[in-house]
Amino acid sequence: DAGITQSPRHKVTETGTPVTLRCHQTENHRYMYWYRQDPGHGLRLIHYSYGVKDTDKGEVSDGYSVSRSKTEDFLLTLESATSSQTSVYFCAISLQGLKAEAFFGQGTRLTVV
């Protein structure tokens, strides 16, 4: 495994509450990504980061925010969780370079009730 861990691995939360997922890497990779995986939709990019404090929106960023205050941590926050945000969330890291592969975390299963 590429030194990338996600926490928590499972979480159940109530509608309207804020939730923060953490992605931690020990590889010093510059690029970090957050995806959600849903049946029929595959992996959809939520936000990504290309350096400390440098982030940008992906395809499905509404309702999510991110922060990256240091290289090793990329936090995904659901400001006010909704049932439509029930999903499996994956973090990925990548070195710089077009050929560089992405390494994925184990995923976080989030259920919003």
Binding site: L45, G58, L98, K99, E101, F104
Partner: protein, 110 residues
């Protein structure tokens, strides 16, 4: 905007039969394309990248810029190939945005 389309959500073939998983993309620049695989209860992992022109586990993929396709092929399917397959495209611009298709679940029947 970059977009990856995998038209087949499910694909089922018999062991020993050829396999082709389709991937089409739209991108204005020069794309960098990948295939990732997710076996049951495992992390998503790289299968192959077009720039390397490699063959991994008997799979190959050729980039066809005219048809904007990057189909994954294997001449003889094996049961251990059953998995979820994702085609991905990396933005060649600075931020290196990485987007995935919807995925194809491949089932190899004995």
């Amino acid at each position: 905007a970059q977009r990856v389309t995998q038209p087949e959500k499910l694909l089922s073939v018999f062991k020993g039969a050829p396999v082709e998983l389709k991937c089409n993309y739209s991108y204005s620049g020069s794309p960098e394309l990948f295939w990732y695989v997710q076996y049951s209860r495992q992390r998503l992992q790289l299968l192959l990248r077009h720039i390397s022109r490699e063959s991994i586990k008997g799979f190959t993929a050729d980039l066809n810029k005219g048809e904007t396709s990057f189909h994954l092929k294997k001449p003889f399917a094996q049961e251990e190939d059953s998995a979820m397959y994702y085609c991905a495209l990396k933005d060649s611009q600075g931020a290196q945005k990485l987007v995935f298709g919807q995925g194809t679940r491949l089932t190899i029947n004995p």
